[in-house]
């Protein structure tokens, strides 16, 4: 059996996440995103690879969306409504609640502002969302008879999950985007230690190692504080959901602590609505927020007000959160145009900006003028602060998660190729786990686990009911093993079901006779004078009872027996068990044999007899 992992998007790049995994003939699509940086047909994953005929319902068992970011959910309405997929779609409750907002917002910007061709309509979004089955954390869902899925908390954004999927005995985890450290409002990723054949992990920051978050927070607060203390206006362009809430919580706390009276504004209705969702979805936030919200909901920001367009030119300091982030379009860009020329003001850019946006230009240097999309130029005299906040885990986090889960294979997606390569080397060399970095359209196949069912015999079951320890002292340390399972023997006969029997039953099961290992030695014994056979036996028996104290000796005329040890006078000239000693008159031979169980006893007796020589 094998697991096939087909990467439709986010292979060696960031954007349009879409991975289709085939486990034991079940195809699961993880995420269905769009690329924000592309305007052409490349914006969507190439679904045609999946099915030439376009009958996705038959090929795909289910679609699972990890979180509401456009690069993870953006292509979903297209896939369900335009491509015609009608199967189950799973996402967490918050994702189901917030995705329509994001999709609608995006559609509006694309269609209404830029006037592009409409790829899906509002109605598409609504009907698409109706197909969605919500997931709760750690809830195991039986998609069909064989396929089980379960969601784990991933941090990153509200409602982000990692997904565990199991078909038969093969299991995988698709992480989506995740964060291994907690931030102001969200917790860190949490997952059980699972037996995995494959881990598909994001790798946005495959080579970055971030330090403590506290200095970063402090720097940001100080920059903003300095700006408003100097009478300036601080613009924080950010997405409506996620960073905006985190930074706002941070600022709200700080404002409280430092007793600052400068107003904080949120720009659009969307964000206010988003805040409402955050307030409702407290169970998906961090431990800290959960515990605090009993007394005061931390998303009830005390100092935050709605922004009105007329306030752009109002005098006095303020802080403004405006969408969208990256200063790519919309209101944030408009405000930027007005505020950028004043050296008092500040633009704080949280997180990543895609190349080509104004945000990217600001970050990549200190430009004096910036070209806006429509050709106008803006003087940039304001201060630029880059906030190194990211909801993605860093390289160490990826390593830590991989180490914790210890899967049999790792596939990296959602990252830039060079850094992914170096992380791949690291995983291979340090953790000794095979790691793959497929590009878009490539498929990785890995072996999967398959267990064989076997019946157990009654005797084996009985012996299993009680512990059976064995201690051994190997390489200078005490070791313990439980013999229960090692007493079992797996018997597979042709055209019969496999069976485990107790090792004592093996011979019976195989209809074979037991073999007993025994040792034999023809022992020379010195004879004094003319002692006959009987006398010699008597003599030896006396000797043995002197040296081997615990031995119980039985003697007959010409032989003697101690436990399994048997010795009898050997009258043959050439005995096969006789070694190295030729017969002479003064030496008689006692042909001995004994079983392995009495190994030491046997040698002891022989030594005793030899001393008689």
């Amino acid at each position: 059996m094998a697991i096939d992992c087909l990467v439709l998007g986010a292979g060696q790049e960031i954007g349009k996440s879409c991975v289709v995994v085939t486990i034991n003939n079940k195809k699961i699509m993880f995420d269905c995103g769009m690329h924000m940086g592309c305007d052409d047909h490349n914006r969507y994953p190439d679904f045609s690879i999946l099915s030439k005929s376009g009958d996705f319902d038959k090929t795909i068992s289910c679609v699972i969306i990890t979180h509401f970011h456009m690069d993870h959910v953006g292509a979903l309405p297209y896939f369900t409504e335009v491509c015609g997929y009608n199967g189950p779609v799973y996402m967490s409750y918050p994702t189901k609640a917030l995705s329509p907002l994001m999709l609608e917002d995006y559609r509006r910007i694309m269609v209404d502002r830029r006037g592009e061709e409409e790829l899906f309509t509002s109605a598409h979004i609504a009907t698409c969302m109706n197909k969605v089955i919500p997931l709760d954390l750690k809830q195991t869902i039986q998609v069909d008879q064989d396929l089980q899925i379960r969601a784990y908390y991933a941090g990153h954004v509200l409602g982000a999950v990692m997904v565990y999927a199991k078909v038969g005995d093969a299991a995988i985890v698709y992480t989506g985007d995740y964060n291994m450290t907690t931030d102001r409002h969200l917790g860190a990723a949490k997952i059980d230690r699972l037996q995995l054949d494959l881990l598909i992990s994001e790798s946005t920051y495959a080579t970055t190692t971030r330090g403590s978050k506290y200095p970063r927070e402090r720097e940001f607060l100080q920059a903003v504080h300095k700006c408003v203390a100097g009478g300036g206006k601080a613009l924080i362009p950010s997405f409506a959901l996620g960073r905006a809430q985190e930074l706002c919580m941070l600022l709200d706390d700080y404002w409280e602590r430092m007793n600052i009276k400068v107003p904080i504004y949120f720009s659009s209705g969307l964000t206010i609505q988003a805040n409402m969702y955050y307030k409702m979805l407290i169970s998906w936030t961090s431990q800290n927020v959960k515990e605090k919200h009993v007394a005061h909901n931390p998303f009830d920001f005390k100092n935050v007000k709605d922004f009105d367009r007329s306030l752009i030119h109002a005098p006095g300091p303020c802080v403004l959160f405006a969408t969208p982030g990256m200063l790519c379009a919309g209101f944030s860009l408009e405000v930027f145009k007005h505020w950028a020329p004043s050296p008092l003001n500040l633009v704080a850019l949280p997180g990543y900006s895609v190349a080509g946006t104004v945000g990217h230009k600001l970050m990549s240097g200190k430009p004096t003028t910036v070209d806006l999309y429509n050709g106008t130029k803006v003087d940039v005299r304001c201060k630029i602060h880059q906030v190194a906040f990211s909801p993605h885990t860093d390289a160490k986090g990826i390593m830590d998660l991989t180490k914790f889960l210890s899967p049999k294979n790792v596939v990296l997606v959602h990252g830039e190729k060079p850094s992914m390569m170096s992380l791949k080397d690291k995983i291979t060399s340090e953790l000794d786990i095979p790691c793959f970095v497929p590009a878009n359209g490539e498929t990785v196949s890995v072996a999967s686990t398959a267990f064989i069912k076997a019946n157990a015999s009654d005797m084996f079951l009985k012996s299993c009911s009680n512990p059976n320890f064995r201690f051994s002292n190997s390489s200078a340390q005490l070791r313990v093993t439980d013999q229960r399972t090692s007493d079992g023997v797996l018997v597979i006969e042709k055209s019969k079901k496999a069976k485990i029997v107790h090792q004592d039953e093996v011979s019976e099961a195989l209809r074979e006779e037991d073999h007993i290992v025994s040792l034999a030695y023809c022992c020379p014994v010195k004879v004094k004078g003319e002692t006959d056979g009987v006398g010699l036996i008597k003599l030896l028996s006396k000797k043995i009872s002197e040296t081997v104290s615990y031995a119980e000796i039985h003697e007959s005329e010409t032989c003697l027996q101690v436990g399994s040890f048997k010795g009898s006078l050997c009258l043959k000239e050439e005995c096969v068990h006789r070694r190295g000693i030729s017969s002479c008159s003064e030496v008689k031979f006692l042909c001995c044999n004994w079983s392995v169980a009495d190994l030491e006893l046997g040698w002891e007796i022989i030594n005793a007899m030899k001393q008689n020589l």
């Binding site: 230690r193 330090g211 403590s212 506290y214 512990p467 200078a476 340390q477 005490l478 313990v480 439980d482």
Partner: protein
Amino acid sequence: MEEANDSVSLTLHTLASIRSLIINADTSVSVISSVFDFLTGLLIRDDSPILHHVLKLLSDLSLYRNELAPQISDSILSNFLRLRNSDDNNSHGRVAAESLAVLASLSERNPSAAAFSGIDGEAFASICLGAPVSPRMWMIRNAERFRVPSSVLFTLFFGFTKDPYPCIREAALDGLVYVCEEAGGFVGHVHAVQGCYARAVELLDDAEDSVRSSAVRAVSVWGKVLIASKEESNRRECRDAVFLQLCSVVRDMSVDVRVEVFKAFGVMRTASESIILQTLSKKVLRAGKGKKPQDHLLNESADAAAAAGVFIHGFEDEFYEVREAAVDSFHSLSVNSVEFPDEAVCLLMDMLYDDYMVVRLKALEALHHIADMGNLKIQETYMPAFLDAIVDTSENIRLTARNILKLAKLPDLKLVNKGVDGVLKSLEIYPQDEPDILSTLFLLGQNHSNFVVNIIKRFREKLETDSGNKSEFNSQQVSAFLVFIISAPLSSKQSITSIPPLAFSYSLAMLGKFSCGLHDMMDQDTLLAYLAHCITLSASSGKEFSKADMFLNAYRRSNADHSGSPVLPPSKDIPAESKPMASIAELEIVNPALKSVDHILLKVKAAWLLLQSECSKEAFRALRACKQELATLTANSSISNGALEFMSQYVHVIELLAQVWPHFENSRHTSTCRSVELELLMEELEIKLMEIRCRFTGLSTEVSLVMELVILGCLLRLYKFEICCRLNCKKKLSATVSQLKLHHEQQCTKPSDFVTETDNSLQEIGSSADISSVRLLDLIKKFNCFSPEQFTLSCNLKCVSAELEVPGNGPYSPISFVAGLPVAIPCEIKLLDVPRDARLWLRISTSDDTCQFVYFDPNLYSGDEREKRFMFTAVTCMTPRAVVFTLRVSIGIECLFEDVCCRKHRYGPKHPVAYLCKEREVHFSLVYRTKAL
């Protein structure tokens, strides 16, 4: 089949009604006893579903009828033994375990009925192995109740770590931890220790959270045993390996595991410097790269990179339990590593913003410790965090934050101002903190005296704005400012003149408040003296400066000796041997009695300096306070009675000197009455010194102290007194000086300047009797017997003392005598700590000071024991012709070292005598000859 079922249900029904009988207090004894018989009868039937109920009922019965408990326990025990001996052990596992449970709870409930005193290891093991999962787990969890040998427990627990059930594995690991920690330090063979550690390490990868967290505990505990079992040279490596092993699970997804890991770091307490540094940085440091301490145990190499950023992860954890544990373990690691980088401090400072009080408190405690080691530099970035802590709602946090501020060194005026503001704000919000806040400001002022001028400026402004409103004058703010300002002269950096005298006089008005706050630095008397002193100095400013310095020096030195010692009480988790340097001062802190003795000595020193600066009244007061304080001290293990006695004698001598002193300070010519007074004082002083010298045994460093005092006495006498006694005095002086020199030679110590100078002067003048008075005065002024090394009180200091009693004697029951004939006085004598070579005398004196000495035969008190009691009959011939008279008796010890021969009596002692007890009056009355019948 039908019938069998029926019987079971019937019995269950019966059992239920039996239960009601048991519970009912009114059930008659006869019924109860038949119930008991019935139940014990059921025990024999091997009907395990019923047995479970029967055992429960028997346990209930024992609870309600205590008198039946022994019988119940007997019958269960016998049934238990029967079960054990039966062949079919397996099916009885559950019943056996349940029987044991009942037995154990029975024996714990009434320990007197010791029918059940544990079971042997073999039985325990067989039940454990035979029983199903839940009784097995019960057995493992309750193993400690059965007094099973540790070796058996170890083997069982070790085996059960292989159990397929996670709950059993967890219980087994906990059991291993228990065996290691509790069961009398069972440490088996090295192989066993290694095996156990290795098994625990294996289980760090267990799929079950609870097993992993138990495994972490086991790794830390057995890791420590393992480290201890290694040779010294390998220990460090082994410790690092264990530490890194723990580091590798720090990113576990389970909160419990992470908490346990950080607790385990606290248990480990230390690791190599490079590893500790690595724990503070997520980036793999160069020092850590390639350095791989070999993990000998698993033949794998543990990489120092495993430790990368451990504490960063811990500090930014989502769960406060983890953060708390991380800060706590960070603290114990920082205690044990000598060098701790600044970045570590930054990390800790960030924790001051934590939402949880516990975490903030722990962080502050750790910072306090770092400040205590002198490593804390508070930067501006972190000042707000501190100021927040100072006005925190939690009292503990405020206290700890202030303690840090007491020790902190702030780099510039801005921060000092901020600090003062913060403290003032806190004073406003929490007036109940005032005493400690004052003490904080005092120390803060002392540490930042170079900024005091600016603070004075602020103070002036404050005062001016307040002066309009008189009632505000006594406000807390003003007192807070004052206490800050007046501390400045104590640090040498600041000249006293820059402080307006006004500040000191205002402070005088707040003496009570201040001394309450500063009680751990100086008492009210010292503070008063100090303030008074500062007033005169700052007003006069000039030549008297040297004296001020003396006072301040004295304070500073005493502070260095005393309050300068770590403020932190020795943390419970730091064993004494692991401290880098346990100085004497630290050890003394542990003992409150020694601490207070130290304190008294410092006060004496301060008093002496006060005396020097002509503040004799304050000095007297301070000395009296010392005496009172001494009186409250009681002898204990660390300080002997003798030492206390020595202290009080010593204080007394200093007090006498203080009384003598003004006579010398003033001009030479004084009135006769004063000179008589002086003469008396000097005599008393000399007698006291003599007493000290001969009454104390076991003196070591104190010898030089006493001798110096004797020398001082001689010098004083030489300076002040008439020519007649000069020769004797000089003789005594040179004798004492040479004795002291000899003493120093023997002890290989350096004589003080005072002694050397005196010696030099004596050699200069040679045999001529006269020393110039200027020179003498000079010498006297040099006297300063307060160097701390003279004050280490010997612990075996013993004071010779005696008690004398004349039994049955009193004014109304006199001893009869016949005039002119000798009379015997029966004395009951108790001697304490008398050295062998002492010569003891009984002195019998009359009211007109004629006296008679009776020598004690040394055989009377030559035994080895400390305390000797004996009867002694002294015979005296001093029977006057009187009807009644009294004699006074006392016991004296001859001072053999006093060379001055003052032999007045033919049979008396050849040397002066020091008295060991109070004089006892003995009453005599004449025997009337009764008329003959």
